[in-house]
């Protein structure tokens, strides 16, 4: 079994696994980072979204063989204790219902705001439409993103 070294949340993790194992399952089943969620396994629900060198990616679509030299951040690595402006905005707007999709939503939102510090509704639609929330928290997510962006622009 080949060995891979994954750079996750600022730490190097050495794992022995098949090269085609999606990063999602390496995170969840080998590294115990269960904050990144399985929803569809084909990159269409967004629940497994993490950052690869700062860009949002679907971890279910990345084989561990393709992770060399890249740095990943998962929801657990976003902040030490929930203090990232997006996490705070999510709490302020009381977004979560079942909450299962929200880690992916937050990772997408963080990347959006980094790219566009003042995203329009159209920007939010375009980026977040790759995600599914069966509880229908969309309008609160929209408000939370706008709040986080606003807080960021004040800082």
């Amino acid at each position: 079994m080949p060995t891979f070294v994954l750079a996750i949340n600022g730490h190097q993790h050495r794992i022995d696994t098949a090269p085609d194992m999606p990063l999602l399952w390496a995170l969840r089943d080998l590294l115990g980072l269960t904050g990144t969620k399985y929803g569809c396994g084909m990159g269409v629900c967004g629940a497994c979204t993490i950052h690869e060198d700062g860009d949002p990616v679907r971890s279910c679509q990345i084989p561990v063989a393709n992770t060399a030299g890249k740095k990943y951040i998962t929801i657990e690595g976003l902040s030490a204790n929930g203090t990232h402006p997006c996490q705070k905005a999510w709490l302020e707007e009381d977004v979560s219902q079942c909450g299962y999709c929200q880690a992916g939503m937050i990772m997408e939102a963080v990347a959006l705001i980094r790219r566009k510090p003042n995203p329009s509704d159209e920007d939010i639609d375009a980026d977040l439409a790759d995600h599914i929330c069966r509880c229908g928290t969309y309008q609160r997510i929209r408000r939370a993103i706008q709040r986080a962006a606003h807080e960021g622009s004040k800082a």
Binding site: A18, G39, M42, I75, C98, G99
Partner: protein
């Protein structure tokens, strides 16, 4: 207790409420020391001033980890910062206490019990303090987990009183607070467990990890009701990480499970399986053909469910009569967290960790499967990544138990997305046929609604024995939405024609309501337009004189329905018509419903349709609801947003088709749901009332489809009677539209 096997969900003072919450999914080993005050199953207070509250419902997004504590804390007189929560589990102190989470019943079903539990503890703590001070209990006050002697200012914390309180007599009828003195109930409280969710530390079923556990996925028979003949596991076992291949007989569909060191190996092993199936008797089942069979069945009478006046005679003599048929397809639940369960079967016990709405059933079925006494089976309820009724069946728990028994280790059974979409149970498809009669002045006088649908076969209702009674459906007040039709027709007849398919069916969000309400509220719109009346005014007249309708066990207060219709209309600007634009046709539609006689809801949808593209956009849904006393207004608004989005997914996208005995759709690519770019603005208006609290988890679902269909009619003149409403259905010119389904029976 082995600390590595404790599962905590923790937040810190950062949580929006400032609340510290620790939900322990494993009951502590006996902590029944003298210093513990445990007046009932819901509360314990220890000498170190820790107040523990047990949550007797599953959290699946409806907010019970917030709402239930609000009711307890209100009467207990303790603050959020002093409290820890624990998830109740079946058996032990919860024998005889319902943990099942269903039917929008979490608030309704706990309100009295939790208030009484809190008040009992409070009164015993006050009595303990009064005894210590040798003063009258009425001179003491409880507040913020402290009892104070009002005239002297002396005080004890609840922790200091725990031992003495435990010795007090448990009052039979502790005084409950006057609702006007509520300090917590009725206020906006944000989710108490929000921080764990946004940091990724919350524990859903799929996140459960116990030492030595393995992972399993399962290949299920590709045809409904088919059977396993044989399998060759050679190639599967050659996949690195695969440990074992196990045939599985429990659950909804039989199959072969692959057990491995991690989920990915199990998935790869499954792909390498070679399985021979007996595809069984349903291998040619086709839902398109079944829907035609259902439509033909509208000619049968089936079972009557309601019979006011003489609707058949009145239809025969009405000045105008119209009729129409409506179709609601099979639907999947498709929660984003797929079905899963960890089971750890030992020789004389079993432990289960499951995202389940029915822990009691999970416990019973596990005990039965393993031949163990009930109390040897522990069921830990995790967070649920969506419930929606799907997790009311414990099929996936039974599968996990069977695999763990074979593996001799704890095993997590994981359903993939296609498994979840195709191999569970479904909301049944349904045909509604309605005839309506109006007199010469355009007044509606007769209503006949015939529902053709499946029994909820997974939950075994009704039995063949039950079906011998002609009143079986009416006695059970089915189908919801037709039986409890709130309108005041002099002549009303409702029938149910059961027609079952091989598709396993069961509760979906709002259970029986969505199809009959889609048909009822659409047809009312059709009747109003047929006589040139405003659909709102038409409904309001049919609810006069605003009295109470007594039907079966239900008392429906028509004045409450009138009120929510008026509020929704006013807030939406109903009286100010929307103007079409160069590109798009705009319209509004209204619909309403009464859920279980205790929640009254009306919705107005605003839609636009591209003149050329025929694409449908739902821009705004205004919702007015009266569900009695509201525990947490923010939570109620969240459930309105959630129910409306759920209903809109089914209205615009949702359908499961069956071909060759198998579900066609397999993921979110072909079973689409509403996403951010389609999510409408949702406005919720709470109509205050002092009735006891109603349940609101499902209430907002049923009116969505008819409100949108009615809005589309208002915009385009096209009446869509078959869900989902897709743009291809709107491409037919209006002039050719409804001729084959709507006709004048007796032209006059």
């Amino acid at each position: 207790m082995n600390s590595t096997r404790r599962i905590f969900l923790q937040t810190s003072a950062l949580a929006a409420t400032g609340l510290v919450i620790g939900i322990e999914l494993r009951r502590p080993a006996s902590s029944d020391k003298a210093s513990v005050f445990r007046p009932n199953a819901y509360i314990s207070i220890t000498h170190d001033n820790i107040v523990r509250l047990w949550l007797t419902r599953s959290e699946m997004g409806q907010g019970v980890r917030t709402t239930l504590p609000m009711m307890l804390l209100e009467e207990l007189e303790a603050d959020w910062s002093q409290v820890q929560f624990e998830q109740a589990m079946p058996g032990g102190q919860f024998n005889g206490i319902r943990l099942r989470t269903s039917g929008s019943g979490s608030t309704v079903g706990t309100y009295d019990a939790l208030r009484k539990a809190g008040a009992t503890a409070r009164e015993m703590l006050i009595a303990a303090a009064a005894e210590k001070w040798q003063v009258g209990a009425s001179t003491c006050r409880a507040r913020a987990a402290t009892v104070t002697h009002l005239s002297t200012g002396r005080h004890f914390t609840y922790g200091e009183l725990a031992s003495a309180a435990a010795r007090q007599k448990v009052p039979d009828n502790p005084p409950l607070k006057n609702p006007k003195d509520f300090r917590i109930i009725g206020t906006r409280v944000k989710r108490t467990d929000g921080l764990g969710i946004v940091t990724g530390h919350a524990t859903y079923g799929l996140d459960v990890r116990v030492p030595g556990m393995l992972f399993a996925v399962m290949e299920r028979c590709p045809s409904l009701g088919g059977k396993l003949v044989s399998f060759d596991a050679t190639k599967a076992l050659a996949v690195p990480g695969v440990r074992q291949v196990v045939p599985i007989k429990s659950g909804i569909a039989t199959g072969v499970a692959v057990v491995a060191d991690h989920t990915w190996a199990a998935m790869k092993g499954r792909e390498a399986l070679h399985v021979e199936w007996d595809l069984g008797p349903n291998q040619h089942f086709d839902s398109e053909a079944f829907l035609k069979e259902m439509e033909a069945a509208t000619s049968r009478d089936g079972y009557f469910v309601r019979n006011d006046g003489d609707a058949i005679k009145a239809l025969g003599t009405a000045a105008k009569t119209l009729e129409a048929t409506y179709e609601f397809p099979f639907q999947a639940h498709a929660p984003v967290e797929t079905m899963n369960c960890v089971a750890d079967v030992r020789h004389d016990s079993c432990e289960i960790w499951a995202p389940t709405q029915c822990p009691e059933v999970a416990q019973e079925e596990t005990a039965k499967t393993l031949g163990l006494p009930l109390d040897s089976v522990k069921v830990h309820i995790t967070l649920l990544g969506g419930g929606f009724g799907r997790r009311l069946i414990a099929d996936y728990v039974s599968e996990a138990v069977e695999v763990s028994r074979a593996a001799g280790k704890p095993v997590q059974m994981v359903w993939t997305r296609p498994d979840d979409m195709r191999c569970g149970f479904f909301h049944p498809c349904d045909i509604q046929h309605i005839s309506g009669g109006l007199d010469a002045s355009g007044r509606p006088i007769a209503w006949r609604q015939k529902s053709v649908g499946s029994d909820l076969s997974v939950v075994n209702f009704p039995s063949e024995e039950d079906k011998k009674s002609p009143r079986i459906y009416s006695d059970n007040e089915l189908p919801w939405g037709s039986f409890d039709n709130p309108y005041n027709f002099a002549h009303l007849k409702a029938n149910f024609v059961p027609l079952n398919s091989p598709v396993p069916t069961g509760p979906w969000r709002a259970v029986f309501y969505p199809p009959p309400v889609f048909a009822r509220e659409s047809f009312l719109d059709e009747m109003a337009h047929a006589v040139g009346q405003d659909p709102l005014e038409f409904r309001l007249r049919l609810l006069q004189p605003g009295d109470v309708l007594k039907i079966g066990s239900q008392e429906i207060d028509r004045s409450r329905l009138i009120r929510v219709l008026q509020v929704a209309a006013e807030k939406s600007g109903w009286q100010r018509p929307l103007a079409h634009t160069n590109d798009r046709l705009l319209g509004r539609g209204i619909a309403c419903n009464v859920y279980a006689a205790d929640c009254y809801i009306a919705q107005v949808a605003e839609v636009s349709i591209g003149r050329k593209s025929h694409d449908i956009r739902v821009h705004r849904i205004v919702c007015a609801a009266d569900c009695g006393l509201v525990i947490n207004p923010g939570g109620l608004e969240g459930q309105a947003e959630s129910g409306i989005t759920w209903g809109l997914s089914a209205t615009l996208h949702g359908r499961i088709d069956f071909k060759n005995g198998a579900a066609v759709q397999s993921s979110f690519t072909d079973f689409e749901v509403i996403r951010m770019d389609e999510a409408p603005a949702i406005e919720t208006y709470i109509v205050a009332s002092d009735h006891s609290p109603g349940g609101f988890g499902e209430t907002a679902v049923p009116p969505v489809a008819p409100a949108v269909a009615n809005a589309i009619f208002a915009a385009t003149g096209k009446r869509i009677r078959r869900l989902p409403i897709t743009s291809d259905k709107l491409k037919v010119p209006a002039s050719e539209f409804p001729v084959h389904t709507r006709r004048w029976l007796i032209p006059q």
